[in-house]
Structures are given as C-alpha cells and as structure tokens.
Amino acid sequence: MATTIGLSNAEKSEASAFGLSKITLYQLLSILGLFALWEIGGLVPISVAFPTFSETTVALFEMIADGRMIAAYADTLKPLLIGIGISAGFGVTLGVAMGLNRRFQWFWEPIFIVLQAAPVAALIPLITFIYGIGLAAKVVAVIILALPIIVLNSYKAVRNASASLIQMCQSFQGTRLQQIWKVIIPNASPVIFAGLRLGVAAGFIGVILAELLITPTGIGDLITYHRSVAEYAEMYAAVFSVIVFSAITVGSLERAETRFFRPDKKVGR
C-alpha cells in the first residue's frame, strides 16, 4: 500500500489549512516559535546585549537597504567561493582516486580523518604564520573545513558503488574506463553530491571563523565592528543573515540533490 511510504491522501487533504500543506504548516510553526522565543528573550532581557527579534529584523533591513550587507557579502563570498571551488575540484578527484586505488586510500585517508577530527578554530591562527592575513589565509581556512568532508564522502561513495552493477559491466566486457565513467561515478554521484553539500556548509563555518579570527572583513567585520561599538541589533542581524544565507544555500543544494540524484527521496518527503 502506498500510504506507508508517503503521506496518505487523507493526511494530505486534512493538512491544507490556510492553503498550506501540513508539512509547511509545521515548518512555519517551528520557525515562528523560535522567533517568538527570541522576541521574549530580548524583551526580558536575557542580557543588555541581546536585542529582540523585531529590533534585529529592522537592523537587518536597514543594513540591506543602505548596501552595507551586500558589500559585506561580496567580501565574504570571495574566499568562500574560491575555497569551495578548490575543495570541490580537488576533493572529488582525490576522493574518487582513493575509492579506486587502495594505495591512494592508505596514503590520504589518515590525513583527512585527522583534519576532520581536528579542532579547526585552534588551527586557524596558525594559518596566518604561513599564509599571512589576507585572502589566501581565508581561502585556506575554508579548504581546511570543506575538503576533508568532500574527499571522505567521495571516496566512500566510490568504494560503496553497487558491486552487482560493476559485475554486470565486467560481464558485458566493459573496459576499466567504461566501468568508472559509466557505472561507478554515476552510481556514486548522489553521495558525492551530498558530500559537496556538507562541504559547502563547512565552508561557511570556515569563512566566518577566518573573518572573526584572522582579520575582520565582510560579515566578520560587521559582527566585530557592531559588537565593539555596542550596536547589538546590527551585530545579531549580521549573524542572523549568515545563518539564513547558509541555510538557504544548503537547502537549495539539498533540493537540487533530491531532484537530480535521488528521485526516490522525493516520495518520502
């Protein structure tokens, strides 16, 4: 019966209050509940440095309107995009190579496992000793956070490619290259893409850490500056904008992943 996999027809029809599906309604309630708690926390107040949600929202729109926020994102996105680009290109290639070749795997796996487990916030100041305090250091911070996730996901995706499909390719006398291009990589691509999505999320953490710990630029500058002059609504607006921006980006990637690589997941949503 189809009802065990997704929503039953009854559930779907029952859920259309205010013209919204039950899922959307619950998701909206969850977000609104959080904002209400934030507003109450600011009104109490938890601390003089904790603004209400409404104050933060006003500050956010002001910062968008006067162009400060857009200029800051232009600065922040530079190291993020370069870092993610390098991590994606290098990471997927290396991960696939590790999945296909045991020697590659033995050599690289410990390095990336250590990097993934390392407390990166503590390593970031060390980056400045080698890469200085400019763009290069921030790109490296993004790479350090994003690369291990992308590499390890890609490697595991290739290693766990369907053995029966590979055997089928062999039985049809496919060459090793055909096996890789036509069977292994297409079969591994959903997990590789999931790794990329997680890598982007980690990259956001990397770039913000770098902007807070190395030199304040972009969003990091907005957070640092408004904190230093005690403009907490603006400071929280900058923090809030990063969370929203990161969530939208990662959410969009997840939708793309579901649409292009995992049509099976659509049913269960």
Binding site: V48, G132, P216, T224, Y225, A230
Partner: protein, 334 residues
Amino acid sequence: MFQIPKLKPLCLAAMAAVAVALAGAPAEAQDKGTMHVAFGDIPGPDMVNFLAAVARAEKRGVEVEVSYLQSEDIAAQAVVGGQADIGVGTPYALIQKVKAPIRMFYQLSQLRFYPVVNGEFYKEWKDLDGADIAVHGRGSGTEAIMQLMAKENGITYNSVSYVPGSSVRAGALMQGNIKATNVDLERKRLLQRKAPDKFVFLPLPKVEASDEALYANTNWLEEQSEAVDILMEELLGVWREINKDPNVVVSLRDEYNLLPDLPQEDVDEMLPSFSQGVEINLYPDNGGSAESVEEDFLFYTTAGTLQGDPGDLKVEDFWYLDPLNRALDKVGRM
C-alpha cells in the same frame, strides 16, 4: 572503643598553634569583601602593577579572584551579566548605546600609540599617501589617530585593513605582510629589539585619553564600598611607587610571587618597559579625574566610539568617581 591515636598530642599542639596564629593575625586581615576582576587579555608582564595592588588588597582582607578572558567585549559582558564584578577596559560605547548600568571608576593607564612603518618603503607621514595601512579595528582609536594624521598631512591612504591585536600587527610587520600600522608600547619595544633598523616610528602629537580603566556595576560599587576603597588605596600606592622608581616592579613581582610562569624574555623586558611607561606618563598618579574623562570624551567622539558633542556628555553618565575621591582624600592628591 575509640582508640586515641598516638599522634593526638601532636595534632592538638598543631591545632593550638594555628588557633594562636589566627588570633594573633592583624585585625585588618579579616573578610572585607570579595571581588572578581575580569581582564580582556592574557596575563602579561604589563599587569604586574595591578596584580601587586591586588596582592596588597588581599593582605588587607579583600578576597580577589582574577580571570583572563578572550577580549574586552567578553569581559564587559561578564560584568554586565554579573559573572564578574570588575572589568578592565574602556566600555564607553556599551554605557552610551545600551545604557548598561556600569561606570568606570579608576584610570589604570593612558592611551599611547606608536605609528610604525617599514623603513624600506616609507620614512615619514607624507610617504603614506596612497599606502595600505592596518589598524586595530573599524572605529577604533588606532584608526581615528591614523585618519587624523592623514588629514593633518594632507594625504589619503589607499586602503585601511583591520588587524586586531597589537601583537598580531607587530608580527605581520616583521613578516612583511603589512608595511604601515600602529602598535602599543610593549610591541614598539619588541620591534626595536627584534629588528632595530628595519622600522621607522612616525611622530605623533600627544593624545590624552584612557587606555584601560576599571569599571563595575554602580550597585556593586556601593554595596562593596569597603573592599573597593581598599583596592583604590592600594592601586594609588603601587602606581605612585612605580612612578617614583620603576625598579620596584621587580621587587613587587618577587615579593608577591606574581606571574611566576612568565618567560625569561618577558621578565627581562618588564623593567625597561615600565621605565619607559613612567617616562611617558602612562600611569596616572591620581587614577583619573573629571578633567581626564573630558579628554576621553574628546578623543572617543573623534574615534566614533562615543556619539554626540563632547561638550554635551556628562562625566557622571560614564564614571563614578566617589570611591576614587574617598581614596584620594585618604592618601592625598599629587
């Protein structure tokens, strides 16, 4: 049956000795209150004067706990939130913008900047026309002073980047990542020591403003007035002793075993650093005054930390000078 241990007479004797010692202790060394001081910096040789005053206050019965937090902002939040009683810094913006119920009450040191450039590229202020400079942060005093000098010399910088921490900027200067910035006294001495001929220190007109001050919740200052008065008196005493003869920092550190884990390099640097500090009037003899606060208003409004006309700002909105005045009445003004 309960066995009397053989050591009992010895224990009794020891207990009696402790009791006699406690009874004979000076009446002052009793509980005069507690205070938790939060620094927004790591412990360093420049804190020896403060820690000596704390050690003396402890001898007079004030229980003092000192914490070292990551930044001045966090220390200020700890004071506002009640996790710490006294903070170290100049939280003018916090007091003005969010009406935090805190007031500064003792000026520990005055602000001193040292604009410094890489001698290979620049020699004087005029050379910085079109140059890339680095300062502590946006809206910081370091930025205000660099912009003021640009205006005076009719120059414009190509870019201003923000590199928090004098030590970080000094390191970046030595590595060649930045070529023009400004540093504090400690890092000026470091640069002169590590690369004596590489850097040029540019001239600067005298700036009169607080660098570090003590601040606390006004309620707490009133409730713990006895403990605060003791600390004030000891601070004034230590500051004046050092201004009279900077050599006392060494004996103070030894006497109270302050910062015993300091690296030898820092220990060696301590005396010359304090001597130079005394030469440039870094340590006020009277812990600040209404006049010094007005000078703060002038500087911090220029820096953008404070908003409004300096003439309209009121001393009592930012400072609580009663404990200092009480202490000065007792120890005398200089």
